[in-house]
Symmetry: C2
Subunit: 442 residues, 2 copies
């Protein structure tokens, strides 16, 4: 896999170091004990949705496929592990030829999920599967958290476009993944050039307060911007006095001015005033973009305001109060012996202290009511009931180590919109509530 496939601006020589130390010590102990080759099934799921949330959004699956394909222990990495004494020589030898050769099934990216949904299933030897835990969870926990917030925001925004502009509020590379997840969740564009470069997401942006402050007058700044970016540009009108700025903006750009941006103040009030002023100035087509500390609630509260687009930063990239999706990666079944034909035994943690899980390899289906609306997430370990065979959710993602399900991001985005539309209407209520459909185990 070349650099281009992995995606600049960041070339990841290997994803194998995005791994917790204990994955390698477990490998070493299992190799010595002769249990490393036991066929194993790991599943990714979450025990609960974030408090008050009605559905989750699977995001990051495409990045997981890249990460698994690229999970290699090269000379530098092996040298580090040797020097630090993380594992012994036989383990280092085993790692040197590591390639994931197992199978991965999962919910397709963009699909919604509920407590217990087996979002990803990784099958192979214990050794080859256990190593992938950390990087798979990092990606799914981050990206799904962002996509869930994005989905709520896009449903609150209705037909009005959302601009992702949170890069400055999160780690510089998390920002790139966040822009991707936001796009999956329904955002239209991003401010992040790296996300445009890597994922071909449309990028947008015009100017900040600093640009106005750089110039001797606001008029100078607007003239400078319009003369280069054209009258279709977006002028930022809240550096000094909004009403004066709007007047100057239309004088400078003419009534065909593309948009004005408001980044502070009481947006509901200011948007109404600015709309009225623009209309009076003949700039009836000039759009209003608002961008100040928005979340899904603020977006919803502006539904009746004359706003044409929303820019969202902090609350998007921090998952609007829930920056991680609390997914776990659990061994749910393993063979009785290292014999490839040995039958699988379901396993599960049993301690009374919580964190218990359901053993066994699971299927999942979404049962619909008579109107075609989702009514339950059905999860089972045995035979799939006849009536659910065409409602199964998991698809094959990796077969014998080969990725078989790469897809364009627009397909994922459309899938999410369709999946959300298939939920009961209460799914998109912003008020706190339970998961919009129950999880049933059969």
């Amino acid at each position: 896999m070349g650099v281009a496939d992995l995606g600049l601006p960041v070339d990841v020589p290997s994803t194998a170091l995005f791994t917790d130390h204990y994955e390698l010590t477990m490998l070493q102990a299992a190799l010595a004990a002769g249990t490393a080759e036991r066929r194993s099934v790991f599943e990714v799921f979450t025990r609960r949705l974030p408090e008050g949330r009605r559905y989750g959004v699977v995001a990051g699956t495409g990045r997981v496929l890249d990460a698994v394909e690229n999970f290699r222990f090269d000379t530098d990495v092996l040298g580090f592990l040797r020097e630090r004494g993380v594992v012994n020589e036989p383990t280092l030898e085993w790692l040197a030829s590591y390639r994931f050769g197992g199978d991965v099934w999962g919910y397709p990216e963009g699909e919604v999920y509920f407590p217990g949904s087996p979002i990803l299933r990784v099958e192979g030897s214990f050794a080859e599967c256990v190593l992938l835990e950390t990087v798979i969870l990092s990606i799914l926990n981050h990206d799904s958290a962002i996509a869930a917030a994005a989905s709520r925001m896009s449903s609150a925004a209705g037909d009005r476009p959302l601009i992702e502009m949170g890069a400055r509020r999160t780690h510089e590379l998390a920002a790139v993944a966040a822009a991707r997840a936001a796009y999956v969740g329904g955002f239209a564009t991003t401010s992040d050039l790296a996300a445009g470069f890597r994922y071909n997401i449309p990028t947008v942006g015009t100017s900040a307060h600093a640009f106005t402050l750089l110039h001797d007058t606001e008029r100078d700044a607007f003239q400078a911007q319009v003369s280069v970016l054209g009258q279709g540009t977006t002028l930022l009108v809240d550096t000094y006095d909004v009403a004066e700025a709007v007047r100057t903006a239309v004088e400078v750009a003419g009534p065909k001015l593309g948009a004005v941006r408001i980044d502070s103040g009481d947006l509901l009030l200011v948007a109404h005033r600015v709309r009225q002023q623009l209309d009076e100035l003949g700039a009836t087509e000039t759009r209003i973009v608002v961008t100040s500390d928005l979340d899904e609630y603020a977006i919803a509260s502006l539904r009746a305001a004359p706003v044409d687009a929303y820019g969202v930063g902090t609350q998007l990239v921090t998952g609007s109060g829930h920056p991680t999706a609390s997914m776990v990666y659990k061994l749910v079944a393993r063979a009785e012996s290292a014999d490839p034909q040995a039958p699988l035994v379901p396993v599960a943690k049993k301690s009374s202290g919580g964190k218990t899980s359901v053993g066994g390899r699971k299927w999942a289906a979404r049962r619909l009511d008579e109107y075609g609306v989702a009514e339950a997430e059905v999860i089972g370990t045995g035979k799939v009931p006849q009536e659910l065979t065409d409602r199964l959710l998991q698809v094959e993602l990796i077969k014998g180590g080969q990725v078989v399900a790469r897809e364009p991001l627009d397909v994922v985005r459309d899938r999410h919109a369709a999946a959300r539309a298939g939920l009961p209407l209460s799914a998109t209520q912003l008020s706190r509530g339970e998961a919009v459909i129950p999880t049933e185990y059969v």
Copy 2:
């Protein structure tokens, strides 16, 4: 700068794409208007601390220095910007030879900060400075948020070591930065191998529930682990029944067993029971590590429990409720003209809608009381009062584009411990409160 300096496992060919689209359109408009070369001063600060927090922690400065040094527009990046029409040809030409040639001063990494503290000051032409906004904020907002949470946790833990183990709960590369920030904030070790590789932070880890479940019995699992990792290892004792596991653990490893780990349940209660049981079994030196959903409050509540070390994941990497530090990067002064000798004019946003700031290039000093304890963060734009000249906080980080203040992470970690110790005692109270010292403007 070679790959080794930037740090594997991620080679960043350029940090220039970690940039919002509008930085480049502002550049283009300023170049055309003849204002791009006006000497400018940008400052990074936060208007407020996260609600209830008493101090902030500067973290990420070292990463900022790397990012600025590596901020280049290579052929691939320029090709992307051209193809997408982000900026015009004259701007692309300007970008092709971009190197930051200005000066950066700032609080040294690990120092504490308060509302308004000018944490970083970037000086140069408007053009060269404005481009750095996004990547500088991404790094400082993320890393400082994590370090602040880490600092609270380490002060709650006292002398007991903290293990950072949150990689799986955040973006895979944010995790590496989080481990670094946690170390600055007082953590002792990390589970993240990439953080060990990149920043030389000690890594630790032994086994998870999956390892126990892989084996036919818990005893088999413990024997496998002890035979390879030695009796000094840490055995996870809450897969089935804790009391039985502890008995088995000491039988298998002997009374010199290194540690047991508890990852679920009522940790206060279980820790007491396990300590008593270990002591009765003669394993008086065996340590108890707890790792279940800890935050600074849970750590503090376990102060009286027989716990020897804490592992912290989710709450650490998500900033314990505050995943971003809300720092901004504001133009505070700029020259009247492009003439290098032109005097600087203080500038600031003035709109009534909030988000106002104080114009002018600032100094900052921490005033001490008669006992040597911090009593105020003093910020000014004019001459430094005589009595504060030896309490100034900002240091030179980049001079004429050259990094002049690289330092080992242990120095940063020690600086943070010393800075925190210099605050009033109430700084480390976990209860919600105001900033522990006031910010005064002179």
